[in-house]
């Protein structure tokens, strides 16, 4: 069965420091992975998806099939990056359109 692991519940970094939010997955086949973000008092929203290979708000994530990881990175954290971050992937079964979410990491950027 699909599984997404985010080992850190809480992560604090200083403004301007690099940040990496970890995500490991177990999946049979080639997964499509996502990062969702929830800022304070806002709804959950898509940050980026690996197939698009975009950099959103300075964040990037590379799919490493060897390590089964999809870590989210940003070279210089900003205060506005403080939020809850969720890694997600579709369920194992084909044809499903929903997502399975990790437990999330709360990032706090210290001024």
């Amino acid at each position: 069965a699909q599984r997404v692991t985010q080992p850190e519940k809480l992560l604090s970094v200083f403004k301007g420091a690099p940040v990496e939010l970890k995500c490991n997955y177990s999946y049979s086949g080639s997964p499509e992975l996502f990062w969702y973000v929830q800022y304070s008092r806002q709804r959950l929203q898509l940050l980026l998806r690996h197939i698009s290979r975009e950099s959103i708000k300075g964040f990037t994530a590379d799919l490493n099939k060897g390590e089964t990881s999809f870590h989210l990175k940003k070279p210089f954290a900003q205060e506005e990056d403080s939020a809850m971050y969720y890694c997600a992937l579709p369920p194992y079964q084909t044809g499903a359109n929903n997502l399975f979410f990790g437990t999330g990491t709360r990032l706090t950027v210290i001024p």
Binding site: R43, L46, R49, N98, G102
Partner: protein
């Protein structure tokens, strides 16, 4: 992008009562979903709301407890029936459009 409105945004309910949450999407979408987010935990899929047919429930969730309606391509309701304190949670409506999941702001239910 789809904009999703949910109501109520929050409510305090008595044990044994039922509450219906409404979800409105500003565009027609094929796929709508209901998630639950219990305190300190991640999102858990309750069911897929299918237009014109019965919802598809995930393991651990049943229609009697969480009846769902989907009368058209822009609207769905989730009812939490015979509530207990364990049902205190945030309930999220979601819709899939152009390969992306969009979410409502959630309905925070507290059951006393």
């Amino acid at each position: 992008s789809a904009v999703i409105s949910q109501k109520p945004s929050r409510d305090i309910c008595q044990r044994g009562t039922s509450l219906t949450i409404q979800c409105q999407v500003d565009s027609q979408v094929t796929m709508m979903f209901w998630y639950r987010q219990q305190p300190g935990q991640s999102l858990t899929l309750i069911a897929t709301a299918n237009q014109g047919s019965e919802a598809t429930y995930e393991s651990g969730f049943v229609i009697d407890k969480f009846p769902i309606s989907r009368p058209n391509l822009t609207f769905s309701t989730l009812t939490v029936s015979n509530m207990s304190p364990e049902d205190s949670s945030i309930y999220l409506c979601s819709a899939r459009e152009s390969g992306e999941l969009f979410f409502g702001e959630g309905s925070r239910l507290t059951v006393l």
